[in-house]
């Protein structure tokens, strides 16, 4: 009887399951090339780190008074990347926006790995890396505790929480899907999935608790995602450095974070979609929605730029003015104008539906969004310090060295390594949730009967 009652679209439950399960099939050579590249980058990073620890941070380009530079820039960059994931998975979940289902898994995985990456930087950039644990409140022989007034400790807690929560959130969402692939898999994979699926069978009891719990997790993750980047922004806003010390920072950073996050999602989804042939599931509509999100957040960011400068001028505070003048026309003009163009002007292309629906264009734009956002952090951190207008005597121009780039490369390697491993071993698109938005199979016959 099946033929007469099959739903109109080819998108049957079975189709969905199999298409997504296919992405876990034996990897292509291209995949291994990518993975190899990632690992290579990671090795560079590790080597650099070892040298840093042995010979001291001096190997990097720091110069008085620029005491934070590329490492912290990367830290903020990666934390920013991390944000859209939770946004898409949690906030859009609460808003019940159906389109998220196809993309949220990728975004969420990205979140987890980005936070993992970001979390490394504070440890790398401190002078005595082997004492990083002094930042943790653990009972010790000396009877000393960390200083909870320090934004760095807030960071530690925020990032730590964010990592834990987003990880469990990801794993929770994965369980039914793992169960699904478990039932198709064979060999060691089956064993793995059996373990990961903690015996999920999709009974009504399981679904009942699962859906509730998932709802609450989303409800917790939503304020968390807003708090995390606010806390990161306070690393700067709490300081008295002109260019940092602004009440605007929290919303400004959050918006920027989501902006860069969406950019990164697009950057990641485009190839995945191609590689795994998920055009059916991840449609242009999804990209367009992401683009709209970019447009929104991007506009908030550019508005913040304007506000910053306006306030600097309007405040009449000579230090503030000097700082922003230096930012725009000082030795770092190139950096700040890269930032303004990539984050200020580029998103305006997205007003046109043509661009929004042209995936290649979106991909290119997303790359520039990432670059722009990296430079935003670079400008905020490095330029504000270099041009510190209080004691202009010490102003210095900072130039990154191989050590800076080495660690940065390493961070990309680290991130992509995990991400690639993930997409090959776990469903990169949520199986159950994609099904949820499909029409469930119904039988008119039985209705007639009834």
């Amino acid at each position: 009887m099946a033929e007469q009652q099959s739903p109109p679209s080819r998108l049957t439950y079975d189709y969905v399951t199999r298409t997504i399960a296919r992405t876990l099939g034996s990897p292509s050579r291209g995949y291994f090339v990518l993975l190899g590249a990632a690992v290579a980058l990671l090795t560079i990073g590790i080597t650099t780190l070892v040298l840093l620890i042995r010979y001291g941070l001096g190997l990097a380009g720091y110069s008085h008074p620029v005491y934070w530079a590329v490492y912290i820039t990367c830290f903020v960059f990666w934390v920013g990347i991390a944000h859209s994931g939770t946004l898409i998975s949690a906030i859009l979940f609460l808003f019940r926006s159906g389109w998220r289902t196809a993309v949220y898994r990728t975004a969420e995985a990205m979140t987890v790995f980005a936070v993992m990456t970001a979390g490394l930087f504070p440890l790398i950039h401190i002078g005595r890396q082997w004492y990083f644990y002094w930042l943790i409140p653990y009972p010790n022989e000396r009877g000393l505790w960390p200083n909870f007034k320090s934004p760095l400790i807030w960071d530690e807690f925020a990032i730590g929480t964010y990592f834990t929560v987003s990880t469990v959130f990801l794993i929770m969402g994965l369980i039914p899907d793992i169960a699904a692939v478990r039932d198709l898999a064979t060999g060691w994979r089956k064993k793995l999935y059996q373990l990961c699926s903690v015996g999920w069978r999709g009974t009504n009891e399981e679904w009942r608790h699962f859906t509730r719990g998932y709802l609450y997790l989303a409800a917790l993750a939503t304020p968390l995602v807003l708090s995390v980047h606010s806390v990161v922004s306070w690393d700067f806003a709490m300081a008295i450095v002109p260019g940092w010390h602004a009440t605007l920072f929290a919303p400004y950073f959050v918006a920027g974070a989501i902006y860069s996050g969406c950019g990164m999602v697009i950057t990641l989804l485009t190839p995945i979609r191609k590689l795994f042939g998920l055009e059916e599931l991840i449609t242009v509509k999804h990209f367009e929605n992401l683009a709209k999100l970019c447009l929104l957040t991007g506009s908030i960011v550019s508005f913040s730029y304007v506000t910053e400068n306006f306030v600097a001028w309007f405040s009449g505070n000579p230090h503030e003015r000097a700082a922003f003048w230096y930012r725009a026309f000082g030795p770092y003009w190139w950096a700040s104008w890269t930032m303004n163009i990539c984050n200020g002007l580029l998103p305006w292309l997205l007003w046109s539906k043509k661009v929004r629906t042209n995936i290649t264009a979106l991909f290119v734009i997303s790359i520039f969004v990432n670059i722009g956002m990296w430079f935003e952090r670079y400008v905020i951190i490095v330029v504000s310090l270099a041009g510190e207008p209080y004691t202009t005597w010490t102003n210095a121009v900072y130039n990154p060295t191989w050590a800076d780039w080495g660690i940065m490369a390493g961070s990309f390697g680290w991130f992509f390594m995990w991400f690639l491993l993930f997409v090959k071993n776990f469903p990169a698109v949520s199986i159950s949730e994609v099904k949820e938005v499909l029409a469930p199979p119904r039988s008119k016959i039985s209705r007639v009967h009834a």
Partner: protein, 995 residues
């Protein structure tokens, strides 16, 4: 290296085998060895473990002969401090004096006698062998010409040399690269005496310097700076506060930088100006005319120097001349000085003579210019004598040459080298392998002055005694002993010295001797000698030099204020201490006026090839308005071809440009004509000056004299001082917090609040405090490459901000010592995640090095940018960045932790001294008294600009100064509540314009 000392042996010499090893290896990365404690055989009566002992001795870094106290801990000299008993430096010391320690513990010292073997390389030799060899040489050289070349030696050692030379039929020649021949010649012309008088700056009411850099290199800098600061400082209390200082020279030196007015007269016309001034004074009867014969002489020689006549030639307008003359005479205490190196043009003697005339006309001679207490350096041989010797040597009429305490091969490159080649046998007593020593056949390293007995007579009436304060570091021997041995005499130089002194004061000698030792010398007022115009005075003519022809430039070689003639070049402290004017460290430079630079398309850092008729050298350009457009200025001191790791092959040697011919007064000209060509090479100059301008955002404050005089206690002339409206309740809230604080844990009860007052009107920017800070706090020197990357660690830096006149040219500078302000609301504290930066009960902004993990957040949040990070392990033994290679590590202050890589460090008001004083006070059951604690910078400051004390003690000096209406807090608008009060610089101008 041939003279490198193998560690075990050197440690044996020091006798710190075990502990030394432990200390030193703990610097590196690796397990701590078991320490061994080696007791004394006999407890020295004056050594207490863990407690410093001070010994009075004499600084021999230059001829000024300042008295110093050496701080000795467990047999190591760890710090030099001025000796308050000495009438010369009155307990103050300059950067070069501070760095004497690095001469003592210099890693490049000659560790043992060395002889040049057949193949021409040095090989070790034992002392007895060396002395036998030398005795033979002396015997065979007798009659064939023996010469003993020393530095300025007005001392028993000098006498010994004289005696010995007489004995062997040789002669003793003393040579100083900067011999002030012009000064002597000028005095001879004017007063018929070739001696150098002492100048009483302290009581001068108006100071007029014709290129005499009396604050940095002229005669006795510390003494003069001390005097100058008394005269020039602003003190509302005194009636004629702040005597005006006018500087006449082609370039602004450290001295000129402190002038109220800079007159960039054409080089060589200074004499004319002086005579013109004198002419005005005499013709307008501004001063009491001297008695008849002189009066007629005066008016006779002043004819033809009417301002109108000479104004054009000098290059300043007539009115100015007249005004100067009026001010000078009417001040009732005008002092004019001349004869600096930078102005030592061929007619320098005439200039000095002219200035003497001016002093004489104004009646300064005898009151402020005191003959009688003559300076020792005046009795060194002139440059002419040296050139004579050189020609003798070249002619092969010198068979045996001894060199001690002089390095002519560097200061007279080429010529002396060649002449040296002609000498049969050359013996050096140098303790370093400098250019001259490197060219000698036998090196018998002398003890460092801190290791040996000696004395020095820097000026008549002052006999400074010099005693060994530490065990010899290397296998060296006092040259005095060597000479005595060679001359067949018995006993050591110590006996010789004592006999000399006994001869001077036989009765109750022991008492006399002990007195001398404890005071650091015998000081008596030398009888003044009145001088009158000499008949020769009428011959004084001030002529303008011939105009420059062709595209040749006037190049002025000036003595480096810190490296001097180059003797300081192998001391990392001095290399890393930026030049007070250019703020350039580790290399030399050429000062070019922007206009000239524009003409040649020159940017700062572009190399300029200067080619004089004597030699050529390349210097990176430093574009500055502090030099005349038609003059290029280069510092001496760098460009060593030997002398050690810190000095060798560093930049260019300015002496190369100078001629080796004496000029008519037997001196050396330091201004030459040279062609300047752009080589196209470029380098990043190593400077601490990054932001060239002080934005006028409340960092430095300047008051016009009139305004300053009008101020009363309680006035607040600076708007940044007032708490902004919006901060009012914040301030109240802060008060409450302080209340809460006083009831908590360590903070319970009454505590002092340590504070500092820095008088910008006194600070000259000489940099002594910076080096003192390095010495006291074990601050690492990072070297040229890292300093270029802004990694220098100077906890205390001197920010030099030009004050520009209406014409845009600089009118001196404001020098601001910038160090940790120990804020009451320190922004650096709350951001530290591990409490490494926190507030102590006594108001210090402490930094716990061993707790620091190195997030560097504190530095970002410090508006004063006075926190410094250990980018590398500068204390790692033999590490790539080792800042204390043996035996330099021996001068590390045991009371201060040496910081590891990855920790933040900063000034804490010499907390180790505070704690030491508190411990001592506790032992004596009393409280710490005001003045018990001197921070290193305060202790050494020659102009007494820094005062430390307890701000909660209403009777303390610092409290009184903090209430001074000139006082302000840097960036007070940030409500950081600094503990350092700066007293605004006061300038003679009506409208102070800030650069």
């Amino acid at each position: 290296m041939s003279n490198s000392v193998d560690r075990r042996r050197f440690l044996k010499v020091l006798g710190v085998t075990g502990a030394g090893a432990a200390a030193v290896s703990a610097c590196g990365i690796g397990p701590e060895p078991t320490e061994r404690l080696i007791p004394y055989l006999i407890q020295p009566e004056d050594q207490i473990p863990g407690t410093a002992t001070y010994y009075a001795t004499t600084c021999r870094e230059c001829a000024a002969g300042c008295g110093v106290r050496v701080r000795v801990r467990e047999g190591r000299a760890v710090k030099l401090e001025g000796n308050p008993d000495s009438p010369i430096n009155r307990g103050r010391l300059c950067a070069r004096g501070q760095a004497a320690l690095q001469g003592l513990y210099n890693p490049d010292r000659v560790a043992h006698p060395m002889v040049r073997n057949a193949s021409g390389v040095f090989e070790d030799i034992d002392w007895d062998g060396a002395i036998q060899r030398l005795t033979a040489k002396v015997r065979e050289a007798q009659g064939k010409g023996i010469v003993f070349l020393t530095g300025a030696e007005q001392s028993s050692f000098g006498d010994l040399v004289d005696e010995w030379m007489r004995q062997v039929g040789g002669r003793h020649l003393s040579y100083e690269p900067f011999g002030f021949e012009a000064l002597r010649a000028g005095n001879r012309m004017a007063f018929g005496t070739g001696t150098l008088p002492t100048y009483d700056f302290a009581n001068a009411k108006y100071i007029l310097s014709f290129g005499a850099d009396f604050l940095d290199t002229w005669l006795s800098p510390v003494e003069f700076q001390n005097g100058f600061s008394r005269a020039h400082a602003f003190d509302a209390g005194r009636p004629a506060s702040m005597s005006k200082f006018v500087y006449v020279a082609p370039r602004l030196s450290l001295t000129g930088m402190n002038a109220d007015q800079w007159i960039a007269a054409r080089p060589g016309t200074e004499g004319m100006l002086a005579l013109a001034l004198a002419q005005v004074i005499v013709t307008q009867h501004l001063a009491r005319l001297p008695t008849p014969p002189d009066a007629s002489r005066l008016s006779a020689l002043l004819v033809g120097y009417a301002p109108r006549a000479v104004a054009a030639t000098i290059g300043i307008d007539e009115a100015m001349i007249v005004r100067l003359a009026r001010e000078f005479a009417s001040s009732g205490g005008g002092l004019a000085v001349a004869g600096g190196m930078a102005t030592q043009s061929p007619n320098a003697a005439q200039i000095v003579a002219a200035v003497n005339i001016l002093n004489y006309a104004a009646g300064a001679v005898g009151t402020l210019v005191k003959f009688g207490a003559d300076l020792a350096i005046g009795s060194t041989n002139t440059f002419a004598d040296l050139t004579a010797l050189m020609s003798e040597m070249a002619a092969g009429r010198v068979a045996l040459l001894f060199v001690h305490g002089a390095n002519p091969a560097h200061s007279v490159p080429g010529a002396f080298q060649q002449a040296l080649g002609k000498v049969a046998y050359k013996v050096s007593f140098s303790s370093y392998l400098d250019e001259t020593a490197a060219a000698c056949d036998l090196i018998l390293p002398d003890h460092h002055p801190l290791e040996q007995w000696g004395d020095s007579r820097p000026r008549a009436g002052v006999t400074a005694l010099q005693q060994p304060v530490v065990q010899p570091v290397f296998d060296t021997r006092p040259t005095g002993d060597v000479i005595l041995k060679l001359s067949g005499k018995t006993g050591t130089f110590q006996d010789y010295l004592q006999n000399k002194w006994r001869a001077r004061h036989a009765t109750n000698f022991d008492q006399y001797w002990m007195d001398g030792l404890s005071k650091g010398g015998i000081y008596i007022e030398a009888p003044a000698r009145t001088v009158r115009l000499a008949p020769t005075a009428s011959g004084i003519r001030a002529t303008a030099p011939v105009d420059s022809t062709g595209d040749e430039q006037t190049v002025v070689a000036f003595p480096h204020p810190i490296l001097h003639d180059g003797r300081g070049a192998n001391k990392p402290w001095l290399q890393e201490l930026p030049d007070p004017v250019s703020k350039i460290a580790w290399h030399s430079w050429v000062e070019v006026h922007p206009d000239t630079a524009a003409k040649w398309g020159l940017a700062t850092g572009d190399f300029l090839l200067l080619k004089s008729s004597f030699g050529a050298q390349k210097f990176p350009a430093w574009i500055t308005r502090s030099v005349r457009p038609d003059v290029l200025a280069v510092p001496t001191g760098q460009g060593h071809t030997a002398y050690g790791r810190y000095a060798k092959d560093r930049s260019a040697n300015a002496f190369e440009l100078l001629g080796a011919q004496p000029n008519d007064y037997g001196g050396r000209s330091f201004t030459v004509r040279a062609s300047a060509t752009k080589t196209g090479e470029h380098r990043k100059i190593v400077t601490t000056e990054a932001g060239p301008r002080e934005l006028g955002l409340g960092t430095t404050e300047v008051l016009p004299l009139a305004r300053a005089k009008a101020l009363h206690r309680g006035d607040h002339p600076f708007h940044y001082e007032e708490t902004p409206e919006y901060a009012k309740d914040a301030v109240e809230w802060w008060g409450e917090r302080q209340h809460e604080k006083a009831s908590l844990g360590n903070y319970r009860g009454e505590h002092p609040r340590w504070g500092l007052a820095i008088d910008l009107a006194k600070c000259t920017g000489c940099g002594a405090c910076v080096t003192a800070c390095y010495a006291e706090n074990n601050i690492a020197t990072v070297g040229e490459e890292l300093m270029q990357r802004g990694r220098e660690m100077a906890w205390l830096r001197l920010e030099r901000y030009w004050r520009t006149a209406e014409d845009g040219g600089p009118q001196g500078a404001v020098n601001q010592p910038m160090l940790c302000q120990q804020c009451g609301n320190a922004p650096c504290e709350p951001v530290c995640p591990v409490y490494a930066a926190y507030h102590t009960p006594d108001g210090l902004n402490a930094q716990v090095y061993n707790r620091c993990v190195g997030t560097r957040y504190c530095s970002n949040n410090c508006p004063y940018k006075v926190r410094f990070f250990n980018w590398h392990n500068y204390a790692e033994r033999d590490g790539q960045y080792d800042a204390f290679p043996d035996p330099l590590s021996m001068l590390l202050n045991p009371d201060v932790t040496v910081r590891e890589k990855g920790v933040m460090e900063k000034c804490t008001f010499c907390v180790q001294r505070i704690r030491g004083a508190q411990n001592q006070a506790r032992l004596e059951n009393r409280n710490v008294r005001d003045g018990d604690i001197l921070t290193a910078c305060q202790q050494t400051c020659p102009s007494d600009a820094i005062v430390f004390g307890d701000l909660n003690d209403r009777n303390s000096r610092v409290f009184e100064l903090a209430g001074n209406p000139r006082g302000y807090h840097v960036l007070a608008g940030l409500n950081t509540k600094p503990a350092i009060t700066y007293l605004a610089r006061v300038v003679a101008q009506a409208s102070p314009s800030r650069g």
